[in-house]
């Protein structure tokens, strides 16, 4: 137990240092130039943080999922884009690690990922699926002799150009139904990315997520043994929603911290004078508390459910609704906190070059409702609510 706690603490200390020394000093430039946060990601590589969740016996850090979530929060406080790249990479690693099912190829892949600190991106969204991750158009097409290929039209691939490897959702075979999906891991050299769009968005600019046509050739062993229908509800969806919401909480927390610093600075200049901004700050804190409570409790629920044998409760309708609601609630609440912080700071918060600037925070969190569109999730929930009894 204490070894595990030590590992978690050392990992978090390293992540906090990277956040302070590499993510924060470059956050504004990453945002302004819409460039990849190379300093923070390289520093995370140096700390072997990209394999933090890989089991120790496979050469990884063996840290807890809770620590990973906290790491996303800490990075989010300093640079939203760095945190998002880290979170999305970890979603792929956690999904692979939780669904190895004894696959020798994937075990050896995780070893290499740890050795070389390889960065994994995901190719899940697809043109023609209406934003439903549970359906694919592109299919894994056998070429004979145990190899296959695919071509996928992806409307966005976050940090696709900067990733070493890609984890892609595909139909199992050319004649498979849209929902009969697998996850395929391809390594640099096995796939090509043909960029189909530009990248000049409102926020999360450093994630560098234009569209691509992804083409790849791969061996049959590079398909994760677990069907995506299991990996999606048991890992990919709840893990995505938890890690994303932690980093959104981190961004909102920093916006609140800036608003608080603004109020304190005003109070110090004129002690004893009425300070309307102080009362506004109290409203922002109420909003932040709601966000924090939702994010914390979701993490606890997931940790408890993950310890059950078979992790069956993760596939129940009540649990699917629970983690869908985390995504919806956190993605709406985080920008609300940031906007409240801006109201506290006034023009000092609106300007991009003061120590109380919260424009980047507001813009970054506004991407939250689009990452798997909230209305798409409401549509799923609406269907479940027609049949689910225990919610």
């Amino acid at each position: 137990m204490s070894v595990a706690v030590d590992r978690d603490q050392a990992f978090l200390a390293a992540v906090r240092r990277v956040a302070d020394e590499f993510a924060e000093p470059n956050a504004d430039d990453v945002d302004r130039s819409a460039r990849f946060p190379v300093e923070a990601i390289d520093a995370l590589r140096q700390e072997r943080a990209l394999s933090a969740y890989v089991p120790v016996e496979l050469g990884g850090g063996g840290v807890s999922f809770e620590s990973l979530a906290t790491a996303c929060f800490e990075l989010g406080r300093r640079c939203g884009a760095s945190a998002m790249v880290f979170a999305m990479h970890q979603i792929q690693v956690v999904t692979i690690a939780r669904h190895l099912d004894g696959s020798a190829w994937f075990e050896s892949y995780l070893r290499e990922l740890a050795d070389e600190q390889r960065l994994v991106a995901s190719v899940t969204s697809e043109v023609g699926t209406g934003g439903d991750m549970g359906r694919s158009v592109a299919a894994l097409t056998p070429n004979g002799s145990g190899t296959g290929s695919f071509e996928k039209q992806a409307p966005t691939v976050s940090y696709g150009e900067h990733a070493d490897d890609l984890l892609t959702t595909l139909r199992r075979a050319p004649d498979a139904e849209p929902g009969d999906q697998v996850l395929a891991l391809t390594r640099a050299g096995q796939h090509s990315l043909e960029q189909t769009g530009t990248w000049d968005p409102l926020g999360m600019r450093g994630t560098c997520s234009p569209g691509y046509v992804v083409r790849a050739e791969l061996g049959a062993e590079q398909v994760l043994p677990a069907p995506f229908a299991h990996a999606m509800p048991e890992s990919m969806v709840p893990v995505s929603h938890i890690l994303w919401s932690h980093l959104w909480l981190g961004i909102a927390t920093d916006a609140f911290d800036r608003a608080r610093a603004f109020v304190r600075a005003s109070a110090k200049r004129k002690p004893g004078e009425p300070l309307p901004a102080a009362q506004k700050l109290s409203h922002v804190m109420s909003e932040l508390s709601l966000l924090r409570a939702e994010v914390d409790s979701a993490l606890r629920s997931f940790a408890e459910a993950s310890e059950e044998p078979g992790r069956e409760s993760l596939s129940t309708m009540a649990t699917i609704l629970r983690f869908n609601n985390l995504k919806i609630a956190a993605s709406e609440q985080a920008p609300r906190v940031c906007q409240g912080a801006m109201a506290v700071c006034g023009i000092a918060g609106f300007k991009n070059d003061t120590s109380f600037s919260v424009g980047r925070h507001l813009r970054d969190t506004m991407s939250a409702c689009l990452m798997v569109a909230n209305e798409r999730i409401h549509q799923t929930n609406a269907g479940l609510l027609l049949v689910a009894k225990e919610v």
Partner: protein, 82 residues
């Protein structure tokens, strides 16, 4: 430092008595400083000495007298120098 503390208590402590007449160890709350006024004293101290009181030092005792405030500041300044 004690002179500066005395000046800030005088300006922001809103005491009904003349602060200059109080000994350094006189109880400021007994002399009429409200807890609201003590917050303003703290803010003014933070501004004047360019430091921040950590939450654990924000006790009633730390602001009880001019000498207690000076001692707390001394501890903070010493920590910053270390």
């Amino acid at each position: 430092m004690t002179d500066e503390v005395r000046r800030i208590v005088k300006e922001h402590g809103r005491l009904p008595v003349d602060v200059d007449s109080l000994p350094a160890d006189a109880d400021l709350y007994e002399a009429g400083m409200t807890s609201h006024a003590s917050v303003n004293v703290m803010l003014a101290l933070e501004d004047s000495f360019d430091l921040e009181f950590p939450d654990h030092m924000l006790t009633r005792d730390a602001f009880e007298s001019i000498s207690a405030i000076s001692a707390a500041l001394g501890q903070l300044l010493h920590q910053e120098a270390a």
